[in-house]
């Protein structure tokens, strides 16, 4: 973990949630206060938008190799198509998730809460997977430019 991870993975994913949480400090109407809960912003799979961005960055880095980079031939092509597949999954969750919104509930116990917020969990895990794949692509292709 270094500053690259912080700037490229954590900031784009978490900064909007920090702003939302910050808005709850203001004296807003009751309805607006309810909407400032960060859970409301991600419960329908919206984290996948951040994951989609990571996949796009990964594709960009795969196609803009520094001249010194020497990669064995099949891997960049395989990685390219797997990133496209990952992007399709993110796009599916980000687009279709909000069509069937998850109702907010009080804590039901860990297992039941996790099952209730399953779209959120799926988008969060998929975003984590994209972050790890994007890190690997960056470390493999661009690391000498840091």
């Amino acid at each position: 973990m270094n500053d690259w991870h912080f700037v490229n993975l954590f900031v784009p994913t978490l900064l909007p949630l920090v702003f939302l949480a910050a808005f709850s400090l203001f004296d807003l109407s009751k309805m607006a206060k309810l909407r400032t809960n960060p859970l409301a912003a991600i419960k329908d799979g919206q984290l996948s938008w951040a994951g989609l961005g990571m996949c796009v960055n990964g594709l960009y880095e795969l196609h803009h190799l520094p001249p010194e980079a020497v990669l064995s031939t099949p891997w960049p092509t395989i990685a390219f198509w797997l990133m496209i597949a990952m992007m399709m999954l993110h796009a599916f969750i980000a687009a279709v998730g909000p069509i069937f919104p998850t109702k907010r509930v009080r804590h039901l116990g860990l297992r039941k809460t996790a099952i209730h917020y399953r779209v959120l969990i799926a988008s969060a895990l998929l975003t984590l997977a994209s972050a790890s794949v994007y890190s690997l692509i960056h470390l493999t292709t661009q690391v000498w430019q840091d």
């Binding site: 996948s48 797997l82 990952m86 069509i99 998850t102 779209v119 969990i121 799926a122 998929l126 690997l136």
Partner: protein, 42 residues
């Protein structure tokens, strides 16, 4: 095709389950294949 999609997404609970399952299973397959290809070919 339209009937099939209507059947799968007719009720919200089932639709959310399908969305989460597609994301989780697809993501798992893609991630495993990615690291496997890295290990095999890089």
């Amino acid at each position: 095709m339209s009937k099939l999609i209507n059947k799968f997404f007719e009720d919200d609970e089932r639709a959310r389950t399908i969305i989460a399952a597609v994301g989780l299973i697809g993501g798992l397959i893609v991630t495993v294949l990615f690291f496997l290809s890295y290990w095999l070919y890089h």
